[in-house]
Each structure stands twice: as structure tokens, then as C-alpha cells.
Symmetry: C2
Subunit: 477 residues, 2 copies
Amino acid sequence: MTGRVSGEVAPVSGAEFTGAELSESVRATIETLPPEIVIVDQDIVASYARDQSRFTDSALPAAVFAPRTTEEVAACMAAAHRNSVTVVPRGAGSGLSGAANAVAECVVLSLHRMTAIREVDAVNRIAVVEPGVVTADLRARVAADGLFYPPDPGSVEFSTIGGNVATNAGGMCCVKYGVTGDFVLGLQVVLADGRIMRTGRRTVKGVAGYDLTHLMVGSEGTLGIITEITVKLLPAPRPAQTLVASFPTLDGAGRTVSEIARSGSIPSMLEILDRTTVQAVDAASGMGIGSDTAALLIVQSDDVDADAVLARVESICRNFDAEDVVLSSDPMESAMLLEARRLALPALERLGDWLLDDVAVPVSRIAELIESIETIAAEHGLTIGVFGHAGDGNLHPTIIYDESDAGSREAAISAFDAITRRALELGGTITGEHGVGRLKARWLTVEHDETSAAVHRAVKTALDPTGILNPGSVLTS
Amino acid sequence: MTGRVSGEVAPVSGAEFTGAELSESVRATIETLPPEIVIVDQDIVASYARDQSRFTDSALPAAVFAPRTTEEVAACMAAAHRNSVTVVPRGAGSGLSGAANAVAECVVLSLHRMTAIREVDAVNRIAVVEPGVVTADLRARVAADGLFYPPDPGSVEFSTIGGNVATNAGGMCCVKYGVTGDFVLGLQVVLADGRIMRTGRRTVKGVAGYDLTHLMVGSEGTLGIITEITVKLLPAPRPAQTLVASFPTLDGAGRTVSEIARSGSIPSMLEILDRTTVQAVDAASGMGIGSDTAALLIVQSDDVDADAVLARVESICRNFDAEDVVLSSDPMESAMLLEARRLALPALERLGDWLLDDVAVPVSRIAELIESIETIAAEHGLTIGVFGHAGDGNLHPTIIYDESDAGSREAAISAFDAITRRALELGGTITGEHGVGRLKARWLTVEHDETSAAVHRAVKTALDPTGILNPGSVLTS
């Protein structure tokens, strides 16, 4: 969630390829490529070793490839394939699951130079973009034409659309609008052996063949490298109206979320902050939300009848004993009401080292999950703040620990496992939007049955027979 | 679009398995199964030979399996796999692409006995259903709880949800709500060798592993047999308001559709009937829509501000020289205004034998496609009526010909090819919602590149290594 990979980095000259530290296979791979897309400078290469995850392994990559076109990506992969060199694709490196972490002897293939927005079509409501476009830039560009690209992961200001597609990123909009994959119509993909493939279409509908587009979405760079994305757009929404409600009991907040869903309202945002998070925000900001707040709900509607939607939501909140309920239709005031949500992670980060986790459960079970996490925190002697997308059951337990203290780190990992297990027990999933990566690869076969695991491996083998693409991510290696 | 497979059919007794006409491998397969799920009576078996498509090959199946549970489906597939018997899965047999057509020496596996709606959850807005549930029955069942399952293929009253998922069926709602696949959260699938797999999840969001759910959606029974479906539901929509506008020029209607899209309105229905279809409806019904109508648009909105949406649509229609524009917010009147659309196919069917085609183009190109089809009709000396889902660019050219006249049949096939080619030239797809099946398998590699075709085959081999599942559908055999 923090940090941003700098845009252009100066490539080293071809002469430096002779560095003794490079294996024969990496050297042979590099030799066939334009020197200006190869980086071997160890200081620069080192900055491509990891994403923003915790508890994941990484290694120093042998080199970084920074291709500028699909054809250059294809050349990189063809050369890597010929020489059996492992390749780890990378967007902005802002991921939280270790899916972009380098492995030993690998090359990191960074898409940061492919930043063109090739087309925005306001009648057919599509855009065609390169993977290195920062998602916020895409949103701003299409907004200029009165259009809306909804997905808004927390990293929207610095993550890239390619990484968003590769991880099927979510965000706060999803309760109404859906996730990244819901907006992907077609892709251009470079396969592990360098072949180039188009998937999907430019039309609204289309069922010609297998859905290879969505096989690629969320595959975290293990099946191919996405070099172009055709996204679906919506008309620009109305400015949202906002409601904030504080609850003296977690149960009241949980039942409010369920009742909003049951009542047939679909807010454009429905976020929750638990007691620990509210207290952290209070401590960091002096907002004074209240020490007896067990949970805070933040609700937005951008419907044409947002007044009526939020009036119904307010009435539900009050039925479940909300104490303070504040509404605003003023954009400035709305932004202020969102401040507590915006501060959730920064406020928790101040408390120590942190792991931002990501699980999802059925909407009706979120209060149970938060309650279980309170117990897990107490049992492990840790602070764990929970916030997230209550409206779609996707929560981000944030574990605070001390990285320099082996006992604390061990407790954090144990709590992480306990939370993941609990989410599954509640009918949920190990990851709602961050992805499996290396962090949760060992959990994949706990969530999915043996046959599914076998099919995952069969698909991986079908697309990447020699296993050079991002080994150890999604599937344990 | 016509015909309905009768529900239960009387199974034959085990004694009849000795019929001399069965091959050794089919007999060996049958012997391991409960007799009450095996049908070998030739008269009954013959009724499972084909779906509703034209221009597709079929054969008499050796037997029909009618399993009642996932475990029985698994037993069927395990036995077929052991004996290398080809299996063609079948829903209601209402498909239009030949994807359920039997091939020589095959067994048809019909899901018509698996009709349970296992669960409807109004808080988490999901339903869990067996594949043999008629889609209209699912819609009615969830409507009783104030919920909405949007997909509404033309066959909604007799096609089944399993077939809808296997073909990723669409309908008139898609312009606003999306297609079947957009509502599928998870599946239970029996693989070609009889192993049982769960895919997906019950939560709104989830990114754990590859999207095997949507790999199965639209795979037309070539990768596995769907035995349970978890669908996402929406709150019940408001009653729709309706507008009908007739245009003296096709261009005016086409530009109206583009302008509605560009203006940011998303109707809940936006259908078009071309001149040929309007004349057929007039002739069949005496509605008197007008002999100088070049195209008719039918628009609905179920938005809370449907009045305002349709007022904007009306103004756009008038800007592009619509002659008659009629609006209604009365449900009875709205139903009457839809009558022309409802009669489109029945009216064209009266003119002779017919092939109901299905292509999609970008919304901005529909007038060009219809114009080209007029030319193609004239060149081939055929009547071709075009109607369909203008709002998402998905049209159904309906070719009228004489099946008993070899020349006419040849002309129809040639026109069919010309329409498919033209859709691709306009940036479209060979099929918007009916699927590839056997009808368009030879076109798949025209739409998709060589690498995509190779990946299709690699995925097929990964999931069905011996190729016993529905060979010749989607991919040419």
C-alpha cells in the first residue's frame, strides 16, 4: 500500500552484461535482447526484489527486463524460454501477497514502461490500455469523457492496471460495481514461450470459445504476461452522498449490514471499522469518534435517489441502536466523513510493523469474523485492527507486531493462520481481493479440494509447460 | 427456441441392456450403472439426438443417461472414461448451435432430473441450484423472496440453468444486467474421468486461485459436466416503463442507439426490429406498425427515474427523425408495446424454414451490420429478418429458406457465412450468446488467432485428456 516504483530507470549498457554474477543461461537470454531494455545494475535490480508483502520469501533477481512493447515482451519470454530462465512479471510492485517477489536466478519482467492509453471509445464504452498505466490515471482519463472505470483498490493512486488485472483487484466500489475482472473484456497476452495471443473481444457480449480472458485475470503472472487490456466503462456516476454511523455493539453493526443487504439497497460503498481501528484513528487524528464505539459504518450512495437510499439505511442503523448517525450530501462534508476510513491503515501503521491481511466471508457473517479476530488478537497478545468492505464481506485484519522480535513475529504468523482458518470455517475465502501470491499458496489447497488443485496444476502445465513463469505464486512449487 | 424435452422418461429395465445394437464399450459402461438411470429404448433415445439448431450434424446416440445426483453423474463419467465412451451432456436441448447434438456411438447425459433449488439466501443474495432447473422457475422462485435472477434468454421458459451456464446465455436484460456468467459465483463440476470438483465460492468477492468457474461457463460441456451452480442474485427491480419508436431510416435507428449509449443512459432493454421483421410481424398480427418503417426500437427502463431516462431517450429518437414514439408506464400497456418484439421470431417462422443466427458487433456498428445483411439477403435471393439486442450490439439475423430445396439450403448456408464474416469485419464476434457448438466450430479459428486456438486445445487436453466430452463442439474434432 506504500511506496511507488519510480517510472523510468536508466538501463545499463550492453557492456555490463559480462558481470560475473550472471549465470550462463541468464547471459544467453540477455544477449538476444535490445540492451536498453535490460537492467543488471545491482542497486537498481535490488529494488525489484519484492512487493509490499510481509512474511514472504524473496531473492535478488539476476536482472530486470523493462520491455516497451508487446513484441519486446515476446522477445524476452522467447529468450527466457529457450534458456530455461525463470521470469517473475511485475506491475508497480504494490501487491501484498508476494506475487511479484523475485526467486533465485530469476529475471523480473517489469511492465512499467508500457503506459499508453491507446483508445477511449465513449459510444462503445471501452478503453484499450497498456498494463503499466496507473489505475488512477485511467480513471481520470476516462472521466474526462464522462466515463467511469469503477475498480478502486486502496493502491489506486500507484498500482497499475496490469497488476490489478493479474490479481483481480477490488476496492470500495465493488459492493455496487464489481471487481477488476468484471470490467475486462479482452486481453493481449504473451505466453511463457513468447507466443502472442489475443483473448476476448471488443463487443459487450461474446461467447466464442473458452473464457481465456478470465483464466488470465487473477492468475498473478503464472499463466502469461498481460500486455494490453480492453476494459468496459460505465457512464460517470453522480456525486455520492455519505452516511456515517457509530455502533456501541459489533453485533448491531453486523446486523445493520445484513439488513441493508436484505432490504434490497445496494450502496456504492459500505465500509466498516472495528473498535481497534477506530481507537487507532482517534489516537492518530484526535477526531474523537468515541471510546465506546464498537464499530463504525460508512455508507455511500450514488443512486439518483441517494436521499431515499440513505434514509432507509439510517432507519436500519437506528433500529440496531446506532448512536451517532451523520448524513451529508455536500461533497466536501462527504470527504470529511470518509476521513476515518482513509486514516484506518495509516493510523494502524503507526502502532508498529503491520501485515495487512485480506479475507472474505458471506456478508451475514462479518460480525462473527470480527469477533473471532478479537479473540485471536487477545490469545496471541497482539493488536489486530479490522476494517474493510463490509458490503461484500471482504475484511482487512491488520496485524500489528514487532518484526525485530522473533516471538512477536511468530505470534503474528500464528494469528494470520488462525484468521485464515476462521474465514474458511465461516464459509469464506482465504483472499477476497489481494490474491494468493506466495503468502497464501499453502492455503490454496485448504480452500479448494484435491481435484481443483489437480486442475489448477493441469492448467498451469498446459499454459507454461516448463514452469518458468512466476513459480511458487498461487501454487506451491 | 421451440420444443421442450419432456420431464421424466420411463427408464428401461436392466434386461434390455443386452440389445444387440450396443457396442461392447457402451454395454460395459451401462453395466456398472443403476438401471433406472439408463435409457436404451430407441424411440426415446432418438428424441435426444439433436438440439434445435439447423445446419448441424447429429447421430443416434447409443443410450441416454439420466442421473439424479452429482454422484451418479460421476459414476456415469467414470464408467464412460474407463470404457472410452464419448459423452454428450445435455440440458433442455433448446440450444441453437448443435452443442448438444449426439455423435456416433455416444451416450447423451441429460441433466433433466436434477431439478432441485437447494437454497435461496436473501441476505447474502445467492441461490444454489441443480442444473436441470428451468430458468424461469428459478426466476419465479427467487422473485418470491423479493430477489432477481436477471438472465432471460429467449428460451427462458423452457431452457435450464445448467444449459444457460454451459453456453453463457444472454437475453434482453444484458444491456443493463449482464449475461449468465456474470451471475455465476461457483460450480460443482464432474470431470471427464468422473472426479468431482468445486470451483469458486459463496462470497461476493474471492480471488483464491484460477477462475475455473468461468473457464467452465460457456465451455458447452467440453470440459466438464456442471452439477450444481451457485448464482448471485439482485434485489427485485421496479416495474419497467416502455418506449417504442419507429424510424423511417435504418441509419436514424442506429444513430439513436449509439447516442443513447453515448449519453450515459443504460436502459434495462434496448431491442431493434428491422424492416423485414416489422413487415413479418405486421403480416402475422395485423398490428399495422407501418409499411414505411425501416426499424423499430423498443426501450425499457426500470431505474427509479425511468420517466427521466425515457424522456431523454424520446428526445434522442426525435432528433434522429423517429416517426411514432409511444411511451407507457402502465404494465399492461408496456406488455402490449413489447408484443412486436415477442412476435418477431414466430412471425418470421411462418415464412418458411429458418435459421436463427447470432452475432455481435460494437454498438456503434449495428446499422452497418443490418445494412450489410439486407445486401446479403438480396444477393442470395433470401428473406433475412434481423432483430435483437441493439443495446449490446447482439443481433439475431433470421434466415428464411426452404429445407427441401437444395439450392435454397445452399444459399442459406452461404448467407450465414457471409453474415458471420461481416460481423468479424465490423469488429464483432461470431456469437454473442448462442455459443459456438458444432454450428460455428469452423469459425472459431477465424475469430481467434493461432495461439489462442492452440491454448484452447491445450486447455481441452488438460481437462479431458482422452477427448470423450462432447467432441466436435467449440473445437473442430
